[in-house]
């Protein structure tokens, strides 16, 4: 069992170290900002975990991070550099808003809202998939660029076709009751919504799909090494497209859940960067479900705690963002296995492409001679 223990330690160790580093940094920043570091850290911890309402706040914040984190986990483990979860999140929210506000309310509308969000997110991811499959264009570029397209598409929608009828603010009308997600445990501040258990369930399902099913093995093989998957007799192009679409659908669903469960309106700058934070979440979680859940909760707690810290210790909540960044740097510096794998893979793909051209040249050589 010792190797298993060692493996587990190797996975968890860097994350623990990273979190400790991040909290020390928060204290140091608070001190620099002129507050008492102890008070600041206490506010940070109590603000996220100190009361049922605070825990509820953390859980509410964790849902979009968890769904986007699952999207990134699925993509990265399948050899796809989906940096576009933010754009897919926005595309999902946009489609969800359209279904929620442009259709006459009907019972069970929320289900259609969620499905619309997932479909739109998946469709948003199919574009880079097509570029990669047909033209071998790196999805790193295309997914990032599509983030901006989605960002401005939302800006346009909330000042145009989806704007509230009073036209007072750049935001949509509030979505009808039938489109909202049910709330539960009302005593905790009436904020916990059905999207939260859904997010946890889907994160677990994503991990299970990847690790334990033949389909998951196919998805990973197709993205990591298409020639090997093709030789195995797998439908590589289809599998690759499906992996992109599933990743996008999870992120799009996150957008719909955030809309239907929390904000109830679409507005300009709808995503505070969930899709980007999700990359940190998935990597900190070592691209595995338990780790990703823990990392999503950690980042959510940081966000919730930072607001409280701002209120009670007078330290700007911006510190939370700095801490998030520091955590990721610490993960990178301690050599988190997931990050190492991702980087290796990026390099590997470049080399594979190079050796392919080499092989082509070699194949051409005797004929040219």
């Amino acid at each position: 069992m010792t190797p298993a223990v060692a493996r587990a330690a190797a996975r968890v160790g860097p994350a623990v170290l990273a979190v400790a580093t991040a909290l020390s940094l928060a204290a140091a920043l608070a001190a620099i900002a002129g507050s008492d570091p102890a008070t600041a850290v206490r506010a940070l911890v109590l603000g996220s975990l100190g009361s049922t309402a605070n825990v509820a706040d953390t859980l509410v914040r964790s849902a979009p991070l968890l769904l986007c984190g699952a999207a990134v986990m699925l993509a990265f483990r399948s050899g796809i550099f989906n940096i576009g979860a933010d754009g897919q999140f926005l595309a999902g929210a946009l489609a969800a808003t359209a279904v929620a506000t442009r259709i006459r309310p009907f019972p069970g509308q929320f289900a259609c809202v969620l499905i619309a969000g997932a479909l739109a997110g998946g469709a948003w991811a199919i574009v880079p998939a097509a570029f990669r499959i047909r033209r071998d264009v790196s999805e790193v570029i295309t997914t990032i660029l599509l983030n901006f397209v989605a960002l401005y598409l939302v800006s346009w929608a909330v000042t145009g076709p989806l704007q509230e009828s009073s036209r007072a603010y750049p935001q949509s009308a509030a979505i009808p009751e039938t489109a909202r997600l049910a709330r539960f445990l009302h005593g905790t501040g009436d904020r916990l919504h059905a999207g939260i258990p859904l997010a946890f369930g889907l994160a677990a399902a994503t991990g299970g799909l990847l690790s334990f099913t033949t389909f998951g093995l196919r998805l990973r093989a197709a993205g990591l090494n298409a020639p090997a998957a093709r030789l195995a007799g797998f439908p590589v192009r289809r599998d690759l497209a499906v992996a992109f679409a599933l990743s996008g659908a999870l992120a799009g669903l996150a957008g719909a859940v955030e809309l239907a469960g929390v904000t109830h309106r679409l507005f300009d700058r709808f995503s505070p960067g969930y899709g980007y934070t999700a990359i940190a979440v998935a990597l900190l979680g070592n691209l595995r479900t338990p780790g990703t859940i823990a990392a999503a909760l950690f980042f959510a707690a940081l966000g919730a705690g930072a607001s409280a810290m701002e209120r009670s210790a007078g330290v700007s909540a911006v510190i939370a963002v700095a801490v998030q960044g520091a955590t990721l740097l610490a993960v990178a510096a301690t050599g988190a296995p997931a990050l190492a794998r991702v980087v290796q893979r990026a390099r590997g793909r470049g080399e594979a492409a190079a050796s392919e051209t080499e092989a082509a040249a070699a194949a051409g050589a005797p004929r040219g001679a």
Partner: protein, 561 residues
Amino acid sequence: MTPAHPREGDGRAAGDRGPDDPASGAEALLDVRAVVKRFGAVRALDGVDFRTRAGEIHALLGENGAGKSTLMNVVSGLYAPDAGAIRFGGRTVRWRSPEEARSAGIAMVHQHFMLVPSFTIAENVALARGALGWLPRARTEEATRALAARYRVDVGDPARRIDDISVGDRQRVEILKALAAVDGDPTGAGSTAAARLLVLDEPTAVLTPDEVAVLFELLRDLAAHGTAVVIVTHKLAEVLALADRVTILRGGRAIASGPAARFEPAALAALMVGAPAEVVARAPEVVPAEVRPAASSADPRPRRAPTTAPPVIVAERLCGHDRAGAIALDGVSLTVAAGEIVAVAGVEGNGQWELVAALAGFARDCLRGFSGRVAIAGRSIASAADARDAGLAIVPADRTTDGLVAELPAWENLLLARDRLRAMAPRGVVPRARALSEARSALAAYEVQPPDPLLPAGLLSGGNQQRLVLARELGRQRPAAIVAANPSRGLDLAATAAVRRRLREHARAGAAVLVLSTDLDEVEEIADRIVVLYRGRLIDAPSSTTRAAIGRLMAGSGVAA
């Protein structure tokens, strides 16, 4: 049996000091004594001795894992030895870095090309010199020309891109790079440092016979001008053709060393593998090529008469162009019957890969204007899924790009075949415990080291990656057909014998076996029938064809004698 003695042994151990042993004189350029190198619990080098002198070509022989590469990495400063001493040029050295070893005059050429494909020859050479920043094109090209002239390494026009040159040219650029690194001077102007020791790790693995000849000429010339050349290899024929002196490693020790001429070829093989008689008999490399007919009495298994068994692999008029537009397959028709082993001999790049792609069902993905018909076990093949469903096992030529997913653990790589995955998980959920235990026995049966099913395939050594692919493809129950490209590449003699035995067993059990190989010895040993692939065309080689004639067919010169 005791084949392990040198020809004039007279009871002397192979490593005994003789009048021409470099260790007896003070002139040994490199003198490695009792060096130990441990990796964790493994003693990769276990008190190895190795001596070589200026102007000599020294072959370092051994099986996979014997410690050849480790020894050369210690010599070139990549690893620090745990114990023992190294003397180089008459003084004791302890390299702290490869740079130190380089500046002392040790040049190393690695097995895998380390060239930037989009750079020119001159730019790659300048990189090796440690060039940083902007270098005028004319000057780097002039420096490359000067260096090439100085060492008489012909690389042609240094302005050509690596992308555009042949594999043989690339190897010479690698050698030039290694020599340039010894120079150190980024501009290459007025440098006087000289390479005193050139180490080449498996330099012939990717070369055609012609290119090997050119390489050997180059190495002989370097040696004649005083450079010591060490060539790490497990090809016995090369040793006999090239080396002045041979050292054989086994289990991290030098078990024999002496002038190449003093070794019985069979004894070399026996020494390398620890002497099972079967393997010695199976070292056909040692028989001079020109005198050995295709079906001589020395053949371990005479070729069978034409078979009347039903055809299993049927390919009809396969045609197609590669991406560059050159003809890759030019009307290939081929039939392999149940129980038959057909070998496709040929120099790499004459359509082998395209033929495998066509038989495996994905020619349309990689060939332009592909036409023709493939059927396996009576089933028409239009996709890779069809081929797998028809029961085709495929050993691809390039295991790292086509055979394995480096990031996935060994056990998952063993499932990377549609039929195997379906058999393991008919309902779509992989039973992890059973898959792991089956993987463990497969890794043990194919002697994959280390036999850890959770280890990512990319962390295995080249030979062990090949074993993993073989475990997946040959480890299945009764495949209808097998297409294997260079199945023994990167394997040692014992593992090679095991692979060929398994192919024969599958054939005996009724599989149609097609082996594509660039190695004539392999072709002759295994095949019931030989065909030659040259520029996308298949040429039959009747069983009376001599080895020399097959060689001529592979080179495209004329018809069978």
